[in-house]
Structure formats: C-alpha cells, structure tokens
Symmetry: C2
Subunit: 131 residues, 2 copies
DNA sequence: CGGAATCCTGCCTGATACTG
DNA sequence: CAGTATCAGGCAGGATTCCG
C-alpha cells in the first residue's frame, strides 16, 4: 500500500511507541471513528433498529456505496449487527451492539456540541472572513 | 457547487427541516468536526499551546498540507488562535480558544473510548474475518 | 521555521444497470 | 428491498519544491 509508506516512514522516524498519537491500533481506531459517515450512522441508529432504506432516507446525502461500506466496517468492528429477515422482499435491519451504544453515547455528545455551538462558529467565520 | 446538487436534491425530497440530519449548518459543522485531522489536532493541543513543528511531530503521519489546512479551518471556526512571534526565524504557536476547549472535552472522550475499546474491536474483527 | 504553490494519485461521489 | 457492479468525474489528500 503505497499511501501508507510515507506516513509509516514519518512514524518510524519518531522511533518510539507513542500510545497517544502514532501508528498504533488505537490511533487507527480513532481515525476510523472520526469519520463523518460513521458519526452520522451511529447518530441515526440512536432511535433503535433501522432498516437500510430508513438509514438512507435519514442520512440525507449519503450514497449507497458509502452507506453500505460504512455499515460493513461497523459490523466488522462489532459496533452494529446486521439481521436479515427472509421476507419477500427481503428485510434487513441494523442495530447497535452494546459496544456500539457505548460509542454512540460519545457521538451524541459530539452532535449536541455541534448543534449548541453552531452559532458561535458561524459568528467566528464571519469575523474571520470579513474583518 | 456541482458536488452538492444531488445531496441537496435528496435533502429536498424529504421536504422537511430536519435539525437532526440534513443540509442545515449543524450538519455541516458535525461533518467538519468528524474529521480525523481535526480530532488529532484538538487532541494534540490538549497539553497547551504548541508550535507548528511540534504539532507536525506529535501527529505522526500528517502532511504539511493537511496540518496547515486543518489549522486554518479551525482558526476560521474560532476553535484555535494563531500567534506569530516576529523572531528569526519566525515562531508560530497555536492555542485552543475557550470554544475550542469545549469541543476538545468531547474529543478527549472519543480518544479515551478508542483506547479503552480497542481490544474489543480487534476481537470483533478477528471473529468476523475468520469465522 | 512555517508555510505556499504545484503536480499527481486515489478515493468518493453520482449515475446507471442488474440481481436475489 | 437491499444490495452489487461499473464507470466517469471531481475533489481530498500526498509528495515535492520553493520562499519570506
């Protein structure tokens, strides 16, 4: 993977195991959960199990590709469960696991912060753009 | 902006003002702070004001471009302050604003979650990959 | 030292078609 | 319904170079 080469080289130059910020697994996990689609999916699953089409409708602007991809990685990481009902047509529901709910609690705070500080940020942008 | 067209169209199809998940400013803000570089920069600034080169060293794997770009947007959004000291050579320090610290408190929880649940996620991946 | 400018690659998006 | 597959296009992001 050529995209990681330089990053790993820079990491190696540090020549120390930095549990805070390095190429260690916790850093990779932090990178993964610091993703807008992950955040939105977890936030959308707050109100209980949801079907695929419900999620697609709730998260305005997500493409099928990214929604599926995000749900797959979340499932792989043990944050959501995927349940297939053998109805006609098939019904698929996604639900947070206990692990997922523990992360979702943090995500909720992030969402709350965004909503409650939105105006302050917009004000800061105005004064920055037109001083 | 052609990239927003389809997203906005899907959002419009909902025909309702969804403060939770839509094309409203809070959603855009949530998208922005759900970024790995934003998360890492805010986490790195936890220990007080830092110089540009310090940040680059702390956040292993970040490119100058992304570090500069992230710091600029954070400054524009009123989350960090940029201070230029007229030394030779020039010294630039970045520091969290009060607004930035309020977000950083949430980011810290996210980082803590990643560190404390890393093993559970790795275990989930193992059982998913090789069942 | 702290960037800005440039070029370039790869992923994401958007659109469309097809399946079980 | 819930995807998978494919392809064009654009933009995020990496590598490199140069400057005050």
């Amino acid at each position: 993977m050529p995209t990681m080469t330089a990053a790993q080289r820079r990491a190696s130059e540090k020549a120390e195991y930095d549990a805070f910020l390095a190429g260690c697994p916790s850093r990779q996990l932090l990178d993964r959960i610091s993703d807008k689609w992950v955040t939105l999916v977890l936030a959308a699953l707050e109100s209980g199990p949801q079907r695929y089409s419900q999620l697609a409708r709730t998260i305005a602007g997500v493409s099928q590709k990214m929604l599926t991809q995000t749900l797959r990685t979340l499932e792989r990481d043990g944050l959501v469960t995927r349940t297939v009902m053998a109805t006609v047509p098939v019904t698929v529901t996604y639900e947070l696991t206990e692990l997922g709910r523990s992360l979702q609690a943090v995500i909720t705070r992030l969402k709350s912060w965004a909503e409650s500080h939105m105006e302050q940020v917009l004000a800061a942008r105005s004064s920055y753009d037109a001083p």
